[in-house]
Symmetry: D2
Subunit: 329 residues, 4 copies
């Protein structure tokens, strides 16, 4: 069978939203048009494929979205896409629309979906990693991480004022399902007195030390950053235990919550998203499929097979753990 | 008895901290020195009076604090100051230090304390209203309100992105013990679909209308601002009820929490604090006592007796409620 | 002649753009629709009337603009509207479109144009003051002022770091054609060592004093805020003179420029714009014409005849000048 | 001669200030104390060595500076340090103070100075790259770059509003003596219509194309980012030429100036500075000298000899130039 030449591509965002997704949508659209391709936006993630929720994207449609948080294409989780019937409906809609290939912006779940679909149907997918967790294998960077990190840092800077004014000890919960990179990095950036992440037991000892030794001084407030770690309310349990053991401390809890996903993307996220968006289109033009665009070393583009990318990278930057133990005297 | 000439004043912050308190401390210090007075900082609020926790303030000691959140003098609630024995200790310390008068920056509790103390001892107090609630009688403005309002607005702007990307309905809790002004103003500034405050039952109907009518459309996310209202977890209860009645909605809750007290003071808070700080010193020089500095009309200085100021002003700007019902179609 | 009932209104922005104009457009549109009126956006200011550059505004057209800087209706200065021929063309277009009345958001020039037009033709105009200068007679507030003030303050906070690190004296030019309120307020909010505005000669003496007395100390940097004052390059001339007289100083100049007009509107600007937008529509419904909506006292709506409003208010808050001389010791 | 054991180190900032320098000072101090070393702050760069302007640094002295812009140790350029007599004075002061080694935070000029000094005297120096230009050989990152990039992006986002509201073409000058990386990256992050940097002639053609083709459409504003390029007023000349050739365009110029050096360091800058500060102390403990700490690949610490580091890296990320030509259709 003679393959059809690439003429029209679809682009979708899937999974949790992350700042910079719009910059990626813009870059995919403009790079495609620049290469004489037509572009269709698929709304609400994979569910939009099933519902045929398509919208043509021209240059002007992606004008003025570069600096906006969230995703103009919206995103959703689709149970139906996990069924064969759902995926067949999706395929029929893509064919009817004349879409020859897709760029999907999302996380490991999104790429797993793309891989299964590509193995069943003749539509190539290229992925762009978009998640604030920065825990994907094969890329040093995922879109949204830098903005989320700065959002956390700015929020904790604010809480630090109140903590210091009242000599309080704050336990602050930071997002990160199974990964503690965001919490660890934020903790170092705010000068946290202690950091608790799933990956490093050693850091718990430092909290003990801080509580026993350092906290005796008067006029001493403290910030403890706690990674969410997949267990809701973990921060409350930890704070409660400390309060019980140290009844003289004025302990407070703050759960940063959904502000961490929002906001204008930082410069770094806009540039990463733009690089990746262009690279995704070029990969499709180069006849690539089932790969995720990665940024490695100093933000250089790389290709990572989906089946590798979907294995989450839980190794943490050991250097940061070392630094925290040195700095936090 | 011949009264001693005013030579040395004390300044303290009391109650919850608010952005702009440092700007007020700076203005009090500089205005006093400019008028040949000496200034002593009293740390940790009224407790610092009892503990003799004093620190001399010179021009350079208040240099570089104008734009910092929190309070460099720290603040605390003092149970001991509520006792006669505590207040006598405080008086002895003030006398020993040679402090002739005090400026206290805080809320209604702080002024009640000052009033009781002044009725017992011959040390005049002038108050500066510092609380993010902006609910004091006799002043159109309290230090910290504008910064807190902008912090809330920026946080909700961020959550709006996520809400819109996922078609979610967010219930967001905003500070305000008994007063809903912060929530109402923030709600209008972010274009909230509904606002729930203790003072206005009418706004609850609008939430019903929004849920019944407006929310049917696809692609519709929503933000509901809920004033804390002295009842912890109120927002969770409200969101739960909506979720039960509208099982198709993707309802989420966010409690903004302590970030609302922190942050660099806005221009408005810095200017208000500076005006009030200068006015407080001038009031003491003019032989005033037991009054709070207010800002009325277009930020013009006024004097308000403590016993009036401590009656919280729970009347809400009716115009804002009217506007919300007009705008929110 | 029986007057036609109000059915359709036009809304336009005119003159220099200011943050919060979009919030006003949104409020006018929603308040009108809420009152069963139709709304037409007139693009590019008065020139758009002449060109018939109209666009219907429905609720969804003003969705998502509340927090955006600039004006989605665009703005321009129109020479043609100053001619009788131009205004007649504009009138014909308004009639053809069925526009019964207009809300114009802008400054004194915009209201002068509206007044002349209303005197010639039977189309009532109501104005909303939108200018970062806050120098209109009859209102304590003009849309954009608070955002511009905070933008200036944040920029100077940044320059302060560099100034302090290098012991430099910075002369920073702030916008304000003939009015110095923005410069004076910003100067107090950043703790400027000196402030130069057209309205107050006394402040120049303080610069002299600072240079003679205060600047001798080592490790002393300084910030001097200079109001543009209608004379381009004024700040450069002033800085040059100081440099000549004090050759040991490391003098630098910074002109803040166009960033002062941009940015997301602050909470205060969004609320002011929303209040004024609703009030403008209600004024038209109440058969008012040739008035500007003002906010007086504590942000209460007032009506000000155009011919009063166009007289710029150059009186400065004397209290701020007093404060600066007290604080700046 | 038996070498003295490392007991006390000096730390200084030199050259232009950059956000994150304080985070580096804090990390050096804490890492040193953590390793039982004493720390002395040398104020005003190399001039402070000559003047003996030293201050002891303990843990608490570097508390609360992590998030502050500028440098608490101040910085200056020293002509005297370029003379042998000056350097001898510096050496005598270091000896008298008992300083065994130094960490210098700065740019290529600072490292050249350190190299000359180390070749003359037996005091080892380790360098940390701190400059907003990010143009040092041997490191993917220099402290201050990310904050400056975000400052530029936020400023241009603001100007974009005004440009769009008035259909204006803005030429905006961004810092970067000989290097265009900041301008190029910022241009991509803001979606500039054109970018002019010394390193890439090709981008000038795109400005021509934009002016000829793209700008015909009505309702089109534009942002052109121009790297300073060592030639003051370059942007004015360029804008003037465009204005002459296209008299219908409303051309404006904005020079961002000193705000680019200031501001709170971003999360990335705080983390980079902390990593580098710890690594610099560990390098001295490992008997290293005359090297700069670099961050390579994914922020991994590396050592770069001073005589390599001082060769500025003018090679630009070609990928970014490619992207700009693809995206900017």
């Amino acid at each position: 069978m003679k393959r059809k030449k690439l003429e029209k591509i679809g682009v979708l965002t899937s999974g949790g939203d992350a700042p910079g997704m719009n910059a990626a949508i813009r870059a995919v659209t403009r790079a495609a048009i620049s290469n004489k391709l037509k572009v269709v936006g698929i709304r609400h993630g994979y569910q939009g494929m099933i519902d045929g929720d398509f919208v043509p994207l021209r240059t002007r449609d992606v004008s003025g979205i570069l600096h906006r948080g969230g995703t103009v294409l919206k995103t959703a989780r689709s149970m139906e896409f996990r069924t064969e019937a759902g995926r067949e409906k999706a395929y029929q809609n893509l064919k009817k629309e004349g879409i020859d290939a897709c760029v999907v912006i999302g996380g490991d779940g999104s790429f797993t979906g793309a891989l299964i679909f590509s193995q069943e149907y003749d539509i190539p997918f290229v992925g762009i990693p978009g998640t604030i967790d920065n825990d994907m294998y094969g890329t040093d960077y995922t879109i949204g991480y830098d903005t989320a990190l700065n959002t956390v840092v700015e929020a904790v800077d604010k809480i630090r004022h109140t903590a210091a004014s009242h000599d309080r000890l704050f336990f602050i919960e930071v997002m990160g399902r199974e990964a503690g990179l965001l919490a660890l990095s934020a903790g170092i950036a705010v000068g946290a007195e202690a950091i608790l992440i799933p990956e490093a037991k050693i850091l718990e000892k430092e909290l003990d030390q801080f509580l026993k030794k350092g906290y005796k001084e008067k006029d001493r407030s403290g910030i403890v950053i706690v990674a969410e770690g997949g267990e809701t309310g973990r921060v409350i349990k930890i704070a409660k235990a400390v309060e019980d053991n140290y009844p003289n401390l004025d302990v407070r809890v703050s759960i940063l919550g959904h502000i961490q996903r929002g906001g204008k993307p930082s410069a770094r996220d806009r540039i990463a998203a733009t690089k990746m968006g262009v690279a995704a289109v070029e990969a499709l033009l180069d006849d690539q499929k089932s790969i995720m665009i990665g940024l490695v070393k100093n933000f250089i583009v790389d290709h990572v097979p989906f089946n590798k990318a979907v294995k989450l990278n839980h190794s943490i930057d050991e250097d940061l753990i070392h630094i925290q133990s040195i700095i936090n005297i």
